[in-house]
Point group: C2
Chain length 326, copies 2
């Protein structure tokens, strides 16, 4: 399987690294909007090229992994490249998934290609677990908690404040809320009761700490609905203690069965990730394998994690899977 990468940020680098852990795959090309000569990759056998050359590679790449952002890159790129490549993306704007699906489906069918969208852990593995758990326990309640982990969007929002030099924001699930769910209490939880937000902020020289703290904790959509704590630290402390991109979370479903609905059950799925892009790219790679298999079967169109038989993600044969993992 010949893999191409479009976009070489954290996620693109993660995909390059993940390809090495899968002997049935080979990275052949990385496409960038930058000057290719400015970009250093780790794979000597792969080419680095400007995105303008991508069409020349349509017969030399089996799956193109789109590593751009959901705000402006993927809504354009995924439909565009699904016409000429099997593609996988990590589109994660939940509310716009139906629209993205329609656009990509049309393009992929037109090109006779397979496009898998919204792959990663949420959307992705968390979605899968919500769906399986709902199908199995139709009478129940769903809970998704995120963290402890770095929210890139919230960190960026703080960095845009005047007087802030750098910042990192952690989303932290509230232990008490998780315990209530695990104890089968079926709590009704407000936004504030589910997560708290911890901010680590480096100020510019002479900035007004008190004013910036107020600006953060009252920021609508991002922080106003949460209990937020702001810690002012030095640039050195930020580098030393907050340079990673850990994340994770929990998907829980509590439900009942029995003629009297008196049998309680709890299904829990959780992730603890040292590196969000490191893990997300590993999920992308597994679904790239599925896209390739589906394409070889003659399928085309847009797919999500809900549509893909689990075995298609694995390098093992169905016989091996039944023998070793069932």
């Amino acid at each position: 399987m010949r893999i191409g990468i479009l976009g070489y940020g954290n996620l693109g680098r993660g995909v390059e690294s993940a390809v090495r852990q899968n002997p049935d795959m080979e990275l052949v090309a990385v496409f960038t909007r930058r000057n290719p000569e400015d970009l250093k990759i780790q794979t000597e056998t792969a080419k680095v090229l400007n995105v303008s050359e991508i069409e020349n590679w349509k017969d030399k790449i089996d799956v193109l992994i789109l590593c751009g952002g959901s705000a402006t890159d993927l809504p354009v790129q995924t439909p565009e490249y699904a016409k000429i490549f099997n593609v996988v993306d990590s589109f994660d704007t939940h509310a716009k998934i139906p629209e993205h699906f329609e656009n990509v489906d049309k393009a992929a069918k037109q090109g006779g290609k397979v496009a898998v969208i919204s792959v990663g852990w949420d959307p992705g593995l968390f979605s899968l677990n919500r769906m399986y758990a709902n199908a199995i326990l139709p009478d129940g309640n769903d809970y998704t908690f995120w963290g402890r982990g770095v929210s890139q969007g919230h960190s960026d929002a703080i960095r845009r404040i005047k007087g802030v030099k750098d910042a990192k924001q952690y989303t932290v699930p509230v232990e008490k809320a998780i315990s209530a769910v695990k104890n089968g209490e079926n709590p009704v939880l407000t936004t504030r009761e589910k997560h708290v937000r911890e901010c680590y902020v480096v100020l510019e020289d002479g900035a007004d700490a008190e004013k910036i703290e107020q600006e953060i904790i009252n920021m609508p959509n991002y922080f106003a609905d949460y209990d937020t704590t702001v810690h002012f630290i030095t640039e050195e402390e930020l580098k030393k203690n907050h340079s990673g991109i850990p994340h994770g979370g929990f998907v829980l479903r509590s439900g009942v069965t029995g003629f009297n609905k008196d049998e309680k059950h709890l299904i829990e799925y959780s992730l603890k990730l040292d590196s969000n892009p490191g893990f997300t790219s590993s999920v992308l790679i597994a679904y790239a394998r599925a896209a390739y298999k589906l394409s070889k079967e003659g399928q085309s169109g847009c797919k999500t994690v809900f549509d893909i038989p689990p075995a298609y993600l694995s390098a093992k044969s169905p016989e091996e899977l039944r023998k070793t993992m069932l």
Copy 2:
């Protein structure tokens, strides 16, 4: 979807109850080897019939759920009925799954029917989680823990001892072992280090407690490789405190990503179940829906949880699933 049940033990009753929680399904018949008049079911609109009449129902049932045991019932029943019905079974003898698959696949293809085997939580949902986690993190270690829960097979083994009137055995995962896995220590664990076994035993009048305790803890295959505790209790205590059939467990995979393999990740799936048959039957019902959809598409043959697109388990449309759960 018209559902039939073959075998009306704990699992059969669970299926009957689960059908009521799924408005797209209707229980039409329960087949038994006993005298049908001796069997009382909860669904007034469903017939109770002797298994000898089952062939007359081949056009009146969309999916037949096989609720017999894995030791002697299912190896015969699943291939037999897969010739004339779409079927789902919970065959759980892991070592014999490849052989069972071959037999059932041949029969189902011959009859143009879909047969889903080894459905439940292990094999079943635990298998799915082992498989997904392995495909995503190829460099890693797997751990499956069972319990705290009642093992029917081990309880039966105690009951067969002379002088034992009744007994219940709980399989209990060792907290220390789970913690080591969750801490990313990648421990190598012996059978004894993973689970302990707790036995609650009611003696016949005049039985020799000391002798029976030794017989239990030294029983090969069942107890000799574990730390086993035996509690002698009264029949009343057994009824009052140990009448349920709870179970559950954990599937964990720890793995690494990154060019230096220095990013650690932990994927965890866990179940806490008040009633093992109550939950297992709910999984069977969800896969019955999948069998029905696959059959309507013209597919045939034997399938496992690895082969079935997740969305097929749900009563919701693909559009609804993308909108509400992705």
